[in-house]
């Protein structure tokens, strides 16, 4: 997916920086745990202060509930909890932001703790995630690649279309494929906090 847009230098995202001879990509970047994550801007519908969220029984804990976003009733997902990235003891913030991301036939809210920021960078900086990583862990399964910034920073670029299938979103961490890859899994403390089959 990363190389398909790289192959198209005249892609709309290129217009944002006409001087650059190289194809660029615009990301919305936010923090999960202690890392920076990015989503391609065309996959983000809007960024908003998280509206009132109503807890929905019978859903996994990382589904924070439902919220009314301009008449759309959307599910709000806590990606930190979903990917088990929240350091133990750090509470869910009272005040947060929500990225509304678009799946083919629904909208999903991703809850993030700090205000997301747009970042433009050359496509060439994104290194596709290696295949073997994609099979192993939870989060790694949904990576498009990793961007290494000139200042030494790292942005993990998420592959939204992959994450946004309803089955993937609802999947409990380590549930469906745990038989195959459980042995290498870490962070049992956070996993224990979530639902057990």
């Amino acid at each position: 997916m990363a190389d398909s847009s790289a192959a198209r230098p005249a892609a709309p995202s290129g217009r944002a920086a006409p001087a650059a001879p190289e194809a660029v990509v615009q990301l919305i970047v936010f923090r999960l745990g202690d890392e920076d994550y990015g989503i391609r801007i065309e996959q983000v519908k809007e960024v908003t202060i998280t509206p009132e969220v109503v807890r929905m029984p019978k859903t996994p804990p990382f589904i924070k509930g439902i919220a009314n976003l301009r008449g759309d009733i959307i599910a709000i997902v806590d990606l930190e909890e979903r990917f088990q990235l929240r350091p133990a003891g750090r509470p869910v913030p009272d005040f947060s932001y929500t990225l509304a991301v678009e799946a083919p036939d629904y909208t999903l809210g991703l809850m993030v703790r700090e205000v997301p920021r747009p970042v433009t960078l050359p496509v060439s900086l994104i290194e596709p995630a290696p295949e073997f990583v994609q099979d192993s862990g939870q989060r790694d399964k949904y990576l498009e690649g990793i961007a290494k910034l000139p200042d030494g920073g790292v942005i993990i670029v998420l592959d939204m279309p992959k994450l946004l299938t309803p089955a993937e979103i609802m999947r409990l961490p380590g549930r469906a494929d745990e038989a195959a890859s459980k042995s290498t899994k870490a962070a049992p403390d956070t996993a224990a906090a979530s639902q057990k089959p």
Binding site: V54, M56, P57, I66, A67, D105, Y106, L108, P166, Q195
Partner: protein, 551 residues
């Protein structure tokens, strides 16, 4: 907004055109067979209705022509005269004139002078000579016929998708309206409040107009059944007389769509299981031909669709035994069920009454598909049966699916909505009216023991394990009265312990979008006037969950 006069005019037109088509058809039948009593009766009735309706609308000439035609057909029916000769010519001519008059009304034009025709009809009725019996068309009439072909229909065909969209938009509007009304009341601004009230009325009218547009006659579905019944009867080697009634009962097109398969299933079931073969029937002293009736009628805001046969009736004991055998219910529970309780088992998944596999019903699906379809619409199913006499299944369906009456309850400071269709009673019970039996809390409601369960427990219990055994000690001692909502589903009552009752309210249910649409405990979500989101509980799913998890 449509005025009442306009509404009447449209109704009149729609019906008059229908009458006109039917008149032409029956007249041709009568011409082919002057002894056709049914056609004659219909012509008489159609003329009668057109007369009454035309007079009510103030269309004097049309009423007069129809009146005289009614009289004529009355005479033919009374065998005072025969349908021959000039009478035939004149009646065809009169129906044409009626058609022209109806079309003129539709186009807002004056109707042509009917005097000569009326005079001739009068003479005919009195048995006098006609002044001029024209067998051929005048030039003017030929012109009229020619120009008729250029008329555009007054009916517009609208794709259902567009109507769905319209209804959704109106739903949104109604939600915002309620918010504005709440805000206006909070602000206490008189002009704003007056405007909000006006908005309330207008959007109400709009909502009903949109719902109205989506209504179709049940006939569009019922009229497909003669063929179905014929085929099933042939395959089963049975003789069946099908009677359809209530084709003009109005129902939302999407409701009808959702219920199509269920109705098909019930009808097939009626022919293949309900009705006996001719020999069996005759041995039981019944007519050889079985009767199947599909009828529609309105009852308040609901539409009742009924499939009734005069067949063998439900053998309650056989159903009870089979349900035990199939593991649908335990023998202990089965023994406690009354007749209706046993019949309800027919609609449980995994139950299929046919012991013999036939082409028609041996398709691996049982009547549970019927129940599922009705549940999805928030409807109900009634069963009535008498052994040896027959069975009637009645589907109680909402006319429209846009607005639902609901009871709002509160749990942990959150509002939940429960559709009124499934709510039975609300009770405030003191401690001593609640007792514990076999790990379940119970209370008596109208001589029936009804299990009670804290809604909190049903909503939040994790995993598949049974609920913990309940004792009276579990009751919140701080509550002097326990708030109980008795819900009912499939003849089963269940008491839900809630924190408090808020109010009754009409809600517009929005379905949950992905990925949450798989959580079946919630039928959807609604926005309250305060802008607050409120989950709509699905009583069938709650009941099923309770049955699966009861200790």
């Amino acid at each position: 907004m449509k005025s009442r006069e306009q509404e009447y005019r449209e109704l009149f037109m729609a019906e008059a055109l229908e009458y006109y088509d039917a008149m032409s058809r029956h007249l041709s039948e009568l011409e082919r067979n002057p002894q056709d009593g049914a056609a004659l009766n219909e012509l008489f009735r159609l003329m009668h209705n057109l007369k009454a309706n035309a007079r009510a609308m103030g269309f004097v000439d049309m009423g007069e022509v129809a009146h005289k035609m009614e009289t004529l057909f009355g005479q033919i029916r009374g065998q005072e005269r025969t349908f021959t000769g000039l009478l035939v010519t004149l009646t065809f001519q009169s129906v044409d004139v009626l058609g022209n008059m109806i079309r003129a009304v539709g186009a807002g034009q004056d109707t042509a002078d009917a005097k000569p025709l009326l005079e001739n009809l009068d003479r005919l009725i009195k048995g006098e000579e006609l002044v001029e019996a024209r067998a051929t068309q005048t030039e003017e009439e030929a012109d009229a016929d020619a120009s008729r072909k250029l008329e555009l229909s007054d009916l517009v065909y609208i794709p259902v998708k567009k109507l769905d969209n319209l209804l959704n938009l109106v739903g949104e509007l109604v939600i915002d309206r309620d918010r504005i009304l709440t805000l206006a009341a909070e602000l206490g601004h008189p002009a704003l409040e007056a405007t909000a009230r006006h908005l309330f009325r207008i959007s109400d009218d709009l909502q009903y107009s949109v719902m109205d547009v989506r209504l179709v006659g049940v006939g569009v579905l019922l009229n497909k059944f003669p063929r179905v019944v014929r085929d099933v009867a042939a395959a089963e080697n049975k003789q069946v007389e099908l009677v359809l009634t209530g084709q003009d009962v109005q129902i939302d097109r999407n409701v009808l769509q959702l219920i199509t398969d269920a109705l098909l299933h019930l009808v097939r079931n009626g022919v293949s299981h309900g009705l006996e073969d001719a020999a069996t029937r005759q041995a039981a002293g019944k007519p050889a031909i079985g009767k199947l009736r599909i009828s529609a009628l309105t009852e308040r805001d609901d539409v009742l669709l009924q499939v009734q046969d005069d067949g063998r009736g439900i053998d309650t004991e056989a159903v009870r035994q089979k349900a035990i055998r199939k593991g649908v219910v335990t023998a202990e529970v089965a023994a406690t069920l009354d007749e209706e309780g046993v019949w309800a088992l027919l609609f449980e998944p995994g139950f299929s009454m046919a012991e013999k596999i036939t082409d028609i019903s041996g398709r691996g699906v049982g009547l549970d598909v019927v129940k599922l379809a009705i549940d999805s619409l928030g409807g109900r199913l009634r069963v009535a049966s008498e052994l040896g006499k027959g069975t009637a299944f009645t589907l109680v369906l909402p006319t429209s699916i846009a607005v639902k009456g609901a009871l709002l309850i509160e749990l942990d400071e959150r509002a939940y909505a429960v559709p009124l269709l499934h709510t039975d009673t609300v009770l405030a019970l003191p401690n001593d009216q609640i007792f514990a039996v076999g790990g379940l809390l119970m209370t008596r409601v109208q001589d029936e023991n009804v299990p009670l369960v804290p809604l909190r427990q049903l909503l939040y219990a994790e995993g598949d394990e049974p609920l913990p055994r309940a004792t009276r000690a579990d009751l919140d001692p701080a509550m002097t009265l326990h708030q109980v909502l008795i819900v009912s589903y499939n003849n089963r009552r269940l008491g839900l312990l809630v924190d408090r009752f808020l109010r009754q309210q009409n809600i517009v249910v929005k379905s949950l979008s992905k990925p949450l649409d798989t959580i079946d405990l919630f039928g959807g979500v609604t926005l309250l006037g305060s802008g607050q989101l409120c989950l709509v509980l699905d009583v069938p799913a709650l009941t099923r969950l309770f049955l699966a998890k009861r200790p």
